[in-house]
Amino acid sequence: MNDSCESVREQMAHWVTAGSPAQQAPDLERHTRQCRECREYLQGLQEDHRRLEGYAASLSPVVERLESNVMAALDDLPPATSQDVRTRWARIRGRRLPWAAAAAVLLGLGVLVFHSRSDHAVAKVVSGEVMVRAERSSEWHQRSKGRRIDPGDELRVGSGSAVVEISDGTVLTMCAGTRLILTGKKSDSRTSVYLNSGVVTAEVTHDSRPDGAFAIESSEGQARSLGTKFTVRMANNVFIDRRLAVTGMLPIAKRIMAVTVITGAVQLQADGQVAVVKAGSSGVAVRDEVPLVGPEAEVLVRTLLASSTVDGPMKPFLEAHDRYLEGFFEAIQANHLRRASIHANRISELWQAIGRMARARLTGSPQAQAQQRARKNLARVLADGGMQEPATSRQIDAIVAWEEQFKDPGWLGEFVHVLKQMEEYAEEIRDGARGDELGLSYVEHCLVGFIAYCEWFTRFPWDDPGKEMTLEEALAGVKRDLEIARREIRHPDNKKAERCVERCLEYAVQAAPLAKQRLANQAKGTDTRIETCQAMIERIEALLEAFQGARARSRQLRDGASQRGEPFRSALKEKLNAERSVQDAMLEEIEAALNLHATLLRKVVSEE
């Protein structure tokens, strides 16, 4: 076979449905007349075409059976209302980020003050280290406290954070690695900054910009303040392509501008379209695409990396982790599954090593051989990621020292639990990335849970490990695990759901005495207050019962035999009904108890 045969066969495969090659291209016909091999090849293709038609036709009775079975199954099910589904979906996918806490940490790190000079937007450094490059200059100069920054200057924060205030009173907090240009022009009364990379939090007061015209711009879009405090973050290679879940095609990682609004509102503009992002939610701008707001945006923002919002002994580890994760996304984008698998393997090893150390501490054997092995393993994983060995040892010591300061078993239990979950999700991601495109769909599923636990790192008491866990923190943990359990309980053989529900139970056990104690202190007041407290105690008890029920159900599901082999229709009905009436009802009962609990708690606190 020569090159010409190869090209003819390509065309044959394209036109095989047309019957004879002469109908499509005389050249093909000429070739097949002369070349016996290609003629046979064409006959083979045509034969395959007929076989495939026959195969599709042979499944017609299956299609008919399928149609009638589905109709019969639907007849027996109560119709889901639009509200049911939307609420549930929003509950699963649209969890809010703990950005406010992260922003508060950043705001505490340093202050830069911009001073006004006529209508120029200028700045003056008060603290923190900012490198500045003048417009059309290639040299960077460090600006120390008291030095002014002019319009057109580019600002870069190397390490640590800096907070700046523009002449109009707008306060900007820049994280390490952030680069932006102060773009306010003399002729333009509007102030704006152009964000190249990194994370910046803007606090705009109504006083400073009565017209609400402050904006942060980027290559991907613009976020215009409507009198507010908001965070803008640029990120590359974000796993954005929603087609992944539909077709199993590889994702396209893109550069995005993610906006999270803490208070007030922001007008997000991209591709000539405008969307308003309200307090507590996020929006995403991607070039040439309509701004994305709502649950999809929340999910996207959640997949951004955690290290920039965590400061403490874990930071270097999270940085290494983020590097691997970024490498993982890049490899996926380049369709390089082997490289993706290597990165996923590193992530998995990292969490396994840290998790082992934490578990050794929990079981009271910090010097055990296992822990030594875990330390060594961790050092190796980190060294492979480009970290220096001596620095690594110090960092491991810092984590161990931090863990040892945990006074509250609740925090230690929480740390171990989160690490265990990270470890398992990382393992599943690693295994998924080893497979094919189908595996990648499962990777996407796991990433949501994985990122949910990633976020949790911002909530650990990094600055005060001796701190006791509050009732609110315990309840927040319950909510998190409920959401994960909701995602995972659909897989009866998945231990994650059971572990999450068990953890919820542990939390509730821990929360109950805390709540009772709080109530005992507060129940000395009026009759209404006592009544409220009594209702709360009852609710906590109901909550505990609901958890125990959910746990039993979860075990039952895990231990239950596979449904294969039973008549499918009854299995389907049972499964759908079970999902509605047992799992959902159970989880909804828990959630209702939690919601009421929170309402009552707020009432008690407000009466304090």
């Binding site: 395959d48 076989r51 299609v63 059976r65 149609e67 109709m71 639009s82 095609m249």
Partner: protein, 174 residues
């Protein structure tokens, strides 16, 4: 065949019109089955999982925001149901010996063909099966897979060449 447009059928189905639901199921059952056959590569399992996916989809119809996206949305649900099944199967395989497949009476004797299809890369397999199950229209396949018709044609021609190679290797072709 119900003459109403897909958007009208969806609206009616949301409002509880069973005939509209039946018409939608009739329109899409074949596509869903094609996806399931393409994913789980076994007609018996595919039927089970397609049934599960369709039932799930029709109980979740109120969650669908854009009626234009019904096809891709349904495809996504079918894929997810298949992924669930494949995960269960992988786990079961760890503890159980491979189960004897049930008798698939009524189906054409296509063992060699099925085996070869199962060995195709997934992206080719899906395109090929959707094409033959769904009236041989590249436009329909393109819509379901979020691809361009030209992209579908390319996948189809590669799938055919790959299939030819596999069938020849298996000795089924002659």
């Amino acid at each position: 065949m119900d003459a109403r447009s897909e958007g009208e059928l969806l609206a009616a189905c949301r409002a509880g019109d069973q005939t509209a639901c039946a018409a939608l199921i009739k329109r899409h059952a074949q596509q869903v089955l094609a996806i399931c056959v393409g994913m789980v590569t076994n007609a018996h399992d595919a039927e089970d999982v397609a049934q599960e996916a369709l039932a799930q989809a029709f109980t979740r119809i109120p969650a669908l925001r854009d009626p234009e996206q019904f096809g891709p949305w349904l495809a996504r649900i079918a894929r997810n149901a298949c992924i669930d099944l494949l995960r269960r199967r992988t786990r079961e395989r760890r503890v159980l010996a491979e189960q004897v497949r049930p008798d698939r009476s009524g189906l054409a004797d296509t063992t060699g063909l099925e085996r070869a299809i199962a060995q195709l890369p997934e992206k080719y397999r899906l395109a090929l099966l959707l094409y033959y199950f769904d009236g041989q229209s590249t436009e329909n396949v393109a819509k379901m897979l979020n691809l361009s018709p030209a992209g579908v044609s390319t996948r189809l021609s590669r799938a055919r060449r790959e299939l030819r190679k596999l069938l020849t290797e298996h000795g089924v072709a002659e």
